[in-house]
């Protein structure tokens, strides 16, 4: 799930305006882009890489690991299933407003083929200094610096703000995992947390949550089991219940998906949840100092 320079990236919809712009940005940053897909322009080159008619053709001609989709909602299902059936390890689905039945078909196909879907409605993933996939400003050094804090966010804009706050507070990132704001995303908060807990380059984790669903509550189980410090901010405390706040997944129905439920679950598991995102770096400093003291004491005891 954490993007590496060795990951070969295919861009579905590479020739569009956004596809072109972000492919150039990814390439300039160091991401290994090996090709693009556009059935009408197959055989040509674009952004210095070959265009294929399908993801399957790309797999048969050199192969790829990760596909990123710059594809409008009505065509997203077919594109995702093409990549999944081609054998993509990961599909990063940026598209917002894909009909939910199409999303379920994508997930069913992904489960069958062992493909990880990140998204839909994600801004993508970044590993500072190595590469990025999607539409995050990885190239902005005020937002992203190589470091040892893993960041999980359902939102690109809020994730950007949190990364900016961390860098100002002296913390670079081991990885940014944007998982998306839809109700049925392929990679959950818990999945992303598990990846960061397993990552030897990650010392601490900033978990940025949102009202709606129960992903933060489920992730809290892992927070309780890890020694890595976890700090968190949950967005949507002031949002009126019953209204979709831009993200389709951010809606509180009854007691489910509420701010209090998420904050309570994370705090009981040992995370520090802050009131405003600007407080995240200080909370992280305090937890990391404590963890360092603990491991120092452990070394002395050994």
């Amino acid at each position: 799930m954490i993007v590496r320079k060795s990951d070969r990236v295919l861009v579905q919809g590479i020739t569009g305006k956004q596809g072109t712009f972000w492919t150039e940005q990814m390439q300039a940053y160091g991401t290994t882009v090996v090709g693009g897909v556009n059935p009408k322009k197959a055989g040509q080159n674009h952004c210095g890489v070959p265009i294929f008619a399908t993801a399957k053709e790309a797999m048969a001609n050199g192969g790829f690991d990760v596909s990123v989709m710059f594809i409008p909602p009505a065509a997203a299902k077919a594109a995702a299933i093409d990549a999944i059936e081609a054998g993509a390890k990961t599909v990063v689905c940026l598209t917002e407003h894909i009909p939910s039945h199409d999303v379920m078909e994508m997930h069913a196909a992904a489960a069958e083929h062992g493909t990880r879907i990140i998204g839909p409605n994600t801004a993508g993933i970044v590993t500072p200094g190595e590469g990025f996939v999607g539409i995050m400003p990885a190239f902005n050094p005020r937002v992203f610096q190589p470091g040892r804090v893993g960041v999980i966010s359902r939102s690109g804009s809020l994730g950007t703000l949190v990364c900016l706050n961390l860098v100002r507070g002296g913390h670079g990132q081991s990885a940014f995992l944007g998982i998306g704001g839809d109700p049925m995303i392929g990679t959950t908060t818990k999945d992303a947390l598990a990846a960061l807990i397993d990552d030897p380059g990650t010392d601490a984790i900033a978990l940025v949550g949102e009202i709606g669903g129960s992903m933060e509550e489920e992730a809290a189980e892992l927070v309780a089991k890890t020694d890595k410090p976890v700090v968190s901010f949950i967005a949507g405390r002031a949002s009126p219940p019953g209204k979709k706040m831009g993200h389709a997944g951010a809606i509180v129905t009854g007691d489910r998906g509420s701010y209090a439920s998420k904050r309570g679950a994370l705090e009981r598991a040992g995370a520090v949840v802050v009131d405003v995102p600007g407080d995240l770096p200080a909370a992280l400093d305090a937890l990391m100092a404590e963890a360092a003291k603990r491991s120092g004491a452990q070394r002395l005891a050994d």
């Binding site: 949507g236 002031a238 949002s239 831009g246």
Partner: protein, 374 residues
């Protein structure tokens, strides 16, 4: 998009599912006439929300006169914030048993979920808590669908007697309608077994995925219109995500997560946000329209502009706001926090063209705006 009971039932009827005989009525006279044609009826408020029975929005009527009186009492009520403009006058069924049935999108399994319970008429949360043994659930592989064999497997071990066959057929029908119409939820509560052995939906709650309405044009006209304020209507026409709230601090931010967060920090600082409005994604070029929308709310006493650009360029968004500010020439104070893509240019523009110094920390910009709104 939500569908009122009557609209949901007409979607079922169009798909070949047998529903009770009934008429939609907007007056006591119409209700009386309907009852005269149908016989003993039940008169039900038509609003796109639940809890109608508990609010007094459902009444039995044995005679046409009673139907008229019931309709008179229910029309004009307000249920869950919705004024009742129409009632459904429907035949009284000879009910032998009541069940619960639903098909819905399940985020946990990322698949359709079929639910059935022998405890009809109750909230499903309550059933799950108090009579879990009566509740069956089945996650469906959406590519394979849900057929008669699946329905029989789902119902296995429940004491349904001869109703098992028509209930199974109904579940298959409900799944078909759910699938055919891109539903997020199709819930029948109660699903009734009648004295004559038929199984019929006595209520229907249908929610169709807004993102799929482009391919559901044939039923979209039946759906309930979302109750929007005049400003919210204007926002929708501009394709902006705008929700009007009761506060006094106007909020303009990009991206759903950052906009929600801006509202949170306004509240945390002791203020009240006046709106949700995000101009991220493709909407980031609409700064002018967006600002006009926020300022059109007379309750707004100060404004926070909070941009954190990733995909959205802050210089483009700030340019739109500056242009709008010069055109509209508002008298309220505005507080900026700008970071991310195009930040240097955006900050310079705000400083030079509006003579305003953006704040470095968004929390500080928001505190200042909350203070100014007092």
């Amino acid at each position: 998009m939500n569908f009122e009971e009557q609209a949901g039932k007409s979607v079922l009827a169009r798909a070949g599912v047998s529903v009770p005989q009934g008429r939609l009525c907007a007056s006591a006279q119409e209700a009386e006439a309907a009852a005269r044609a149908i016989g003993p009826v039940v008169v039900k408020a038509q609003v796109p929300t639940g809890k109608r029975g508990k609010s007094g929005g459902v009444k039995l009527a044995a005679t046409p006169e009673e139907a008229a009186a019931s309709a008179q009492a229910i029309l004009g009520m307000e249920i869950g914030g919705f004024p009742v403009a129409r009632v459904l006058v429907e035949e009284q069924a000879a009910i032998a048993r009541e069940f619960y049935a639903a098909v819905l999108n399940d985020p946990a399994s990322r698949s359709p979920l079929v639910l059935f319970s022998t405890e009809g008429g109750m909230d499903i949360e309550e059933v799950a808590a108090t009579r879990p043994e009566s509740l069956r659930r089945m996650a469906v592989d959406i590519r394979k669908g849900f057929g008669p064999a699946d329905a029989r497997r789902l119902l296995l071990g429940l004491d349904l007697g001869e109703a098992a066959v028509p209930v199974a057929a109904m579940l298959v029908d409900l799944y078909r309608v759910y699938r055919q119409h891109d539903a997020e939820l199709l819930e029948i509560n109660p699903l009734a077994l009648l004295a004559d052995g038929r199984v019929v939906p006595l209520d229907c709650k249908l929610t169709v995925d807004d993102a799929a309405l482009y391919r559901q044009a044939d039923i979209a006209e039946l759906g309930a219109k979302e109750p929007l304020s005049a400003l919210e209507e204007r926002g929708r026409a501009l394709d902006l995500k705008f929700i009007e709230l009761e506060g006094n601090v106007g909020v303009l931010a990009n991206g759903a997560g950052l906009t929600m967060t801006t509202m949170d920090v306004v509240s945390h600082a002791g203020g009240r946000p006046a709106n949700f409005l995000e101009i991220g994604g493709e909407a980031y070029t609409k700064g002018t329209e967006a600002l006009d929308l926020v300022l059109s709310n007379p309750g707004v006493k100060s404004l926070v502009v909070n941009f954190c650009g990733a995909f959205a360029r802050t210089d483009v968004m700030a340019g739109g706001v500056i242009q709008a500010w010069k055109t509209l020439n508002p008298t309220i104070p505005v507080f900026f926090s700008i970071h991310g893509t195009g930040e240097d240019e955006a900050v310079r523009m705000v400083r030079e063209e509006l003579g305003i110094e953006p704040y470095d920390r968004m929390e500080d910009a928001i505190s200042a705006a909350v203070e100014a709104a007092r």
